[in-house]
Amino acid sequence: MIHISAFYFGSIALVLIGLYAILVKKNILKMLIGLSIMETGVNLLLVSIGYIYGRSAPILSEGIGPNQAVDPIPQALVLTAIVIGVATTAMALSAAIVLYRHYGTLNVEEIRRLRG
């Protein structure tokens, strides 16, 4: 039996929920929502790997010393990942707008049928 932390479990669950939406849903917007949920899961996983019991945020003021703060690197990585996620989501949504303008539908099977 595998023992993992609740935070790891939650992030794995978010990734799987997002993957389920991508695999099963036919509407492109729903697939993009699934992609965003997956991204949230990955971000949560990174931040929770950097957490250390009983320590505070890595802002070294108000009596927080270097040995009382959590790992700053995963948080910096997630800061980057969130911004890139917003950018890619915007790109994908505008691609969806273009698709809708061409085919009049967002259903992937319909689009595949219409393309012939």
Binding site: I2, H3, I4, S5, F7, Y8, F9, I12, A13, V15, L16, L19, Y20, L23, V24, L45, S48, I49, G50, Y51, I52, Y53, A57, P58, I59, L60, S61, P66, N67, A69, D71, P72, I73, Q75, A76, L79, T80, I82, V83, I84, V86, A87, T88, A90, M91, L93, S94, A95, I97, V98, R101
Partner: protein, 238 residues
């Protein structure tokens, strides 16, 4: 029938992937001290960068080149949105004004939302936040304006100029570092001029982190506003 088959196949795949992920992560202890490079950053962040917030010090100072690439990715994405949605005549086509709550609230709050965004990115080296959340906050002010008023449009020319100038400013700050200290994005304000050495934890410290974050905040704000503008306009056929 096909749909049920597809769904069960998907669920079986997900269970396999989930088991595999959980097995991999069970070897990573939660909440234990696993820091190697992170401890070095925490020990030296105040002397080396003058910033209190270790996360923004890592993002802007230690890995400034990476952040320049990130800003470039954001720029490419906003250009890509513009290119994908490019049309002959694009206009606002919303028919109804926002409700009175939305319009009045927007009139009152939009300047303060922009002010709060500026606060977030100017204090990036002291408090949680920085250029990216600050810029996103500024963009929400413009989103509010777009939602409340049917005819509102951002000042395109001024925004494009700001975007280009601040993007150039980032590279120029890096090149000044190259000229003074010998490598790109050298922190010349902190390491050569020693500005704000007695001031750590207050606004005027942190070397070039507030400067770079002001640049990033303006750039992200204008770019996200541009994306909002591109997405809310529709092609009109006349």
């Amino acid at each position: 029938m096909v749909s049920i088959l597809k769904r069960s196949l998907a669920i079986i795949t997900l269970l396999i992937i989930g088991y595999w992920l959980a097995q991999g992560l069970s070897g990573v202890p939660f909440g234990q001290d696993k820091m190697l490079v992170g401890q070095y950053y925490l020990n030296h962040v105040k002397q080396q960068t003058g910033a209190v917030n270790a996360v923004t010090a890592v993002v802007v100072n230690y890995r400034g080149f990476d952040t320049l690439g990130e800003v470039t990715v954001l720029f490419i994405a906003s250009t890509g949105v513009g290119a994908l949605l490019w049309g002959q005549r694009r206009k606002r086509t919303a028919r109804t004004e926002g409700s009175i709550v939305l319009t009045t609230g927007t009139r009152l709050l939009a300047p303060f939302v922009i002010l709060f965004g500026a606060y977030i990115f100017i204090h990036g080296h002291l408090t949680p936040g920085g250029g990216f959340p600050g810029g996103a906050t500024i963009a929400t002010a413009f989103l509010l304006l777009y939602m409340a008023f049917t005819v509102y449009e951002i000042p395109h020319r001024a925004f494009e100029k700001t975007e280009g100038i601040v993007g150039m400013g980032y590279v120029i700050v890096g090149l000044i570092g190259l000229a003074i200290g010998g490598y790109f994005l050298f922190d010349w304000i902190w390491q050569t001029w020693h500005l704000g050495t007695n001031n750590i934890g207050r606004l005027f410290s942190g070397g070039f982190i507030p400067v770079i974050y002001t640049i990033i905040g303006l750039k992200v704000g204008t770019e996200l506003s541009g994306i909002i503008d591109n997405m809310l306009k529709e092609e009109v056929s006349e």
